[in-house]
Symmetry: C2
Subunit: 436 residues, 2 copies
């Protein structure tokens, strides 16, 4: 085998995949265990050609893939691994640069800081923040809360009942104490009784996972400042919207945050994984995480990004973010976000206008929460039918105790026709349920 | 731009890189800040072609890259991103499958469990272990210690003074209490006074980072069993050696571990990141990490791998490990490990035979610890000169308080000529230091 020939075959598979993904069922139509059962019980004794791997990817694995790249993937948060991002991952794997410390990977270390500065500029964040990349927001939030724990000597972490599950998971990991506060009728953290005097940190969310609601960050920042608590802003999904000035209303107060996380792998066209964490208190992160054994000491007078987070080994993740920002530019990123806002608004309008359907939450970004009139069970059955069709994929959430459907626009290849088709499938399956 | 054309250009760059990496200086010959200074202060307003990214990778970034793929990279642990692994990363990025839960990525979830089972077979680990992939051993060890903390209700973690820094980092993260125990003359954990009665966990290392020493796992397992402490085995580097039956002496006692980590991205030809964690107590990991919010609930009666570790979002990492195992097979993996053992033994023999040089530790695997007779300062100066030559890259460690050089063989393209050249450079620079 040669790298060029195998590579050309892999590249052709990838190109064909991106061309045809829209014709595949969005949600994998397999039962648990079905894929595993098709794999040999034991590894091969001798090597096989790479083409055999590609063949089995096509024949064995493909039916078990839920297609996040599908233009009618409306689940969780819609995401895109754009072409420049994909090819940059090929290059990162080729270089296999491991940024355990600066001298082990100077270009990776410096590009990471630089591109995070670029992205801060694009998003209109304050100048001078320290930025680095973690794998996911789970890790970014863990890093921020660890810094808060060490800096304050306190253990209580405050967040709303709409905060992402990764916050509670990080709190448990860190041996900290969760304190959940209620949200208001529009799913925003209530601040009327917010008490942070004993808190290490408060986590405000811009774009909650259920309904993309925006916590009142300015009021939360006031309370955090009074109490000396760390303010961490989880903008994992919605922070990308700040690339558009008209959506920066949702950034109010974020300039006062001690740390903020935005996942470039969500709404910024970058393949998994690329979670961007900025802080105005880098010394506190460094104090929490720095730990340099002898075999990593060098004479370089320089910070190592591994001193700002849990992991020592770090991939060359900045390469893909750099490629995406350069190949799209500010205008290209804005165009994608604006088109997704337009599509979500369209869908919202169709739901509003259709008898028998209702909207269930305000829609600040590209996620629409809605339901069909009727019971939770009927809505759940509807969702299962839509997803079983393979024509579109949505998930549900619960808002005010009710089962709610949730359409998340976020794939760069999604067109108006795709959103229309999802709406058609929803109405078709609802009608067929009614007559069944 | 089209994906096929840009992709062909990226692939050609990658192929050329792999062909010429041996001619580049191993350690980046740049000063801190030098790469950043060459990058534009602001991101572009409009998109650029991907070819511009490739051009700047070549012109701007390449001088700042320390080449982990270089056949004379002998630093840290030598690693290889093999061709099948690289191409599988291209495919993983193309699919952008995010395994937050089974139904979001059935093939990724099932292939991950399956390939970890394959690898357990290849390494001769006990049947029936639960395996999953984390990014790095930092995270794998954190996951294991978290499970230990929750299962035992205790907080003390015991490890030797030769344990990897990630253990102390994980202990701090988890709010646990470190207890370092001394090692013996051959850098193995001393067990004569090992007391684990109040310990949540003990971390034994097979292949320590400084000298690749092997802790006496059977005795440690005895003590852990008596005390009801969790036994975690860190075999991040050396676990790969178990693919060769003649090296399984170092696996004694590991069959009694509660968890064991082996990094496929170290000595198993897989690009960063791919840390394999097995446990015989999956319920304890799940109990520590499971936390399912409403928007992730589904009717599937199935485990989600995100319930076994800190992160929710998970890349399709198993694809590259699958590709590597299939394209090399058991025999191919064995051949690489055996060749590296042979090369390290050769180098060890040269040092032993050469007046004025000494070996500083036993050599159980492919890392040779040695020094030139003389002061620490002289050895440090020697190391700096060797690394500044760009001809080979090594790091140092401290053993018994002395500055020791460390040659780690682990790159699949390293030949006998490369090891010989490193030895020549070392002697040349030592001689030139002496006459200076």
């Amino acid at each position: 085998m040669t790298f060029r020939e195998d590579g050309a075959e892999a590249l052709e598979w990838a190109a064909r995949y991106l061309e045809r993904v829209g014709e595949l069922p969005v949600l994998a139509q397999v039962q648990p265990g079905e894929i595993r059962a098709r794999l040999p019980a034991s590894p091969p004794e001798t090597g096989e050609p790479f083409s055999a791997v590609l063949r089995d990817l096509e024949d064995v694995l493909l039916p078990g893939i839920t297609h996040w790249q599908h233009p009618r993937f409306f689940g969780y948060f819609g995401v895109t691994a754009s072409e420049p991002g994909i090819l940059a991952e090929l290059l990162a794997a080729t270089l296999n640069s491991v940024a355990i410390m600066w001298r082990a990977a100077p270009a990776s270390s410096e590009l990471e800081e630089h591109v995070l500065d670029w992205l801060a500029q694009l998003l209109g964040l304050p100048a001078g923040l320290h930025g680095h990349i973690e794998d996911t927001a789970s890790t970014s939030t863990t890093a921020a809360l660890m810094a808060a724990r060490e800096a304050t000597g306190r253990r209580v972490v405050v967040f709303s009942d709409q905060a992402h599950s990764s916050v509670a998971k990080a709190v448990k990991l860190l041996g900290m104490v969760p304190r959940e506060v209620p949200s208001d009728a529009e799913f925003r953290m209530r601040t009327d009784a917010l008490e942070l005097d004993d808190a290490a940190a408060v986590v405000a969310t811009v774009g909650t996972t259920s309904s993309t609601s925006v916590d009142p960050v300015p009021a939360i920042a006031d309370a955090a400042e009074r109490a000396g608590a760390w303010l961490h802003v989880d903008a994992a999904y919605a922070g990308a919207a700040w690339v558009c000035p008209e959506l920066r209303w949702s950034q109010a107060g974020v300039e006062r945050a001690d740390s903020v996380v935005v996942n470039a792998h969500k709404w910024l066209l970058t393949p998994m994984d690329c979670s961007c964490l900025w802080t105005r208190r880098p010394a506190d992160l460094r104090n929490a995480f720095s730990l340099i054994p002898e075999y990593l000491r060098s004479r370089d007078e320089v910070d190592n990004l591994s001193e700002y987070g849990p992991a020592l080994g770090r991939r060359f993740r900045s390469l893909k973010l750099w490629a995406v920002i350069r190949c799209y530019g500010r205008e290209g990123l804005q165009a994608v976000i604006r088109e997704h806002m337009r599509l979500a608004e369209l869908f919202e309008g169709w739901v509003r206008a259709e008898p028998g359907w209702e909207l269930c939450a305000p829609r600040p970004f590209s996620v629409v929460c809605f339901r069909r009139e009727g019971s939770d069970e009927e809505n759940e059955a509807l969702l299962e039918r839509v997803n079983a069709s393979g024509e579109a994929f949505l998930i549900h959430t619960k808002l005010n105790g009710r089962f709610v459907l949730r359409l998340a626009v976020g794939n760069a290849w999604t067109t108006e026709d795709d959103v229309r088709r999802a709406w058609d499938v929803l109405r078709r399956e609802a009608a067929s349920l009614q007559t069944a």
